[in-house]
């Protein structure tokens, strides 16, 4: 145990470990807050679809050799978020089928592009790290950390400020519209925030595992708590704890960051499920 603590203290002296912790916790916090709304609105598949779009966009950015990949990835993902939200509402087109189509297409195109215009000799290594995040969180630059911090603060402020509105349109969008809440505006805001979070989270967990970040904490919290406020708070807390524990464990054990955090989230879900089954909840 003591050896572990010493090892941890040693690692904490490296800025890249501290950066990873800061960014990891912030992303976990933001994605879990939004996750509650997404899961309840039956929108969790949009998160999944967007993460695949982000993968395709990243491939495009790599091929274009953009100096800052974010300048390509963020606008493309935002665009996809707005489009997906539209199809989700349109009852004529099957929303889930549209999402599935867009996500596999971006995945395939991304992989194609990365193979055709290989920028490094190790294509499969590149693809693997984009999909699963592997080590990129440990190579964050100071700029990227600041960027993540700023965006997270914006997301948190927006969520806090519009918390009651978000609750209203999540519980009953028709009623909210009828009494004059501009639901389309808030839906758009949610879509934009989700896109931003997914782009940020790509660094941490890679595009395949992002959905776990968004839905696991919310689902876990819903097993145990029965008010919207408690579910939101618990989801945020769980997510932060799992991210911290996961990142530290991965640093100590040398495992991939994203996969370790998601494994923690899954364990937390099982625990919450057991608690929810045994008692009547809180």
């Amino acid at each position: 145990m003591e050896a572990w603590i010493e090892k941890l203290a040693l690692y904490m002296q490296y800025p890249f470990v501290r950066y990873a912790l800061i960014v990891g916790v912030l992303i976990a916090l933001c994605s879990s807050l939004l996750g509650v709304t997404l899961v309840l609105k039956r929108f969790s598949f949009i998160g999944d679809g967007l993460s695949h779009v982000a993968f395709g966009a990243l491939a495009v950015a790599t091929v274009l050799q953009a100096a800052n990949k974010m300048t390509v990835v963020l606008p493309l993902t935002l665009l996809a978020a707005v489009l997906l939200l539209r199809t989700g509402k349109d009852t004529n087109i099957k929303g889930d089928a549209a999402v599935a189509m867009i996500s596999v297409t971006s995945l395939a195109f991304g992989y194609l592009l990365m193979n055709l215009f290989a920028s490094s000799p190790n294509v499969s290594g590149d693809v693997c790290s984009t999909l699963f995040g592997s080590t990129s969180i440990l190579t964050l630059t100071k700029q990227e950390v600041w960027f993540s911090v700023m965006l997270s603060v914006v997301v948190l402020l927006l969520f806090g400020f519009f918390y009651q509105k978000i609750f209203a349109i999540t519980f009953d969008e028709d009623f909210a519209r009828a009494v004059g809440v501009n639901a389309s505006r808030y839906n758009l805001m949610l879509a934009v925030i989700i896109a931003v979070i997914i782009v940020l989270a790509m660094n941490l967990v890679g595009s395949l595992l992002i959905s776990a970040f968004v839905i696991f904490p919310a689902l876990s919290a819903m097993r145990v708590f029965h008010t919207f406020f408690a579910v939101t708070t618990c989801s945020a807390a769980l997510s932060v704890v799992c991210a911290l524990a996961g990142i530290l464990a991965s640093v100590l054990a040398g495992t991939p960051v994203g996969a370790t955090v998601v494994a923690m989230d899954a364990a937390a879900f099982l625990l919450c499920w057991a608690v929810g089954r045994s008692g009547s909840g809180i």
Partner: protein, 238 residues
Amino acid sequence: MPQIVCENLCLGYEGETIVKDLNFSVEAGMYLCIVGENGAGKSTLMKAILGLRPPLSGRVVFGDGLEKREIGYLSQQTDVQKDFPASVREIVLSGFQGRMGFRPFYKREEKERAAQNMERMGIAGLSDRCYRDLSGGQQQRVLLARALCATEKLLLLDEPVSGLDPVVTADMYRIIGELHRSGVTIVMITHDVAEALPCATHILHLGRRVFFGTRDEYLREMKDTPEKKEGASHGSMD
């Protein structure tokens, strides 16, 4: 000036008109029941009044001090709501959202009004309970309390008793009747004509024949043409 005037409303979906040239008005103090077969356009009419789905043509005008956003709405239960983790208080308070603008928190008097409305609906003791754990009748009372937070002037109720057992249904009609007597205009969609008729002051019948008028006129009309399906091709529309 009536609270709501519907002028030459045509309702329907792309290319398919369900309701044609509908004219009626809702005066303050009315208890209007909208009846008709399934697919006659009852819910579509309600959505047009609420501004959720624009009519194909015609218009809905608000007056008598009623603004569009001052309509309390009791919708049919959605799938999302059935297992929604929210306390009764959270839901009732959300009725105020429409008039909050960008204000992020509820004011003290709003919290008090919410408490009063829960008291009025007989659910004060449930305010910390989870919505999904309540019975169907209790859930409807919660949604009614929320609608009352949105307005005291006019309530639009879409099938408020569907899925409720007879005892709870009678209770629900009693509550709606009390609200009506306390001065709230009621517009209610129902397929349960027999249950709804005793309380209604006016009836709007949608379908192959369209009728709008007082309850007594409606009963007379029904008596004159007992063959409902073969009824007059035009109702007394005004």
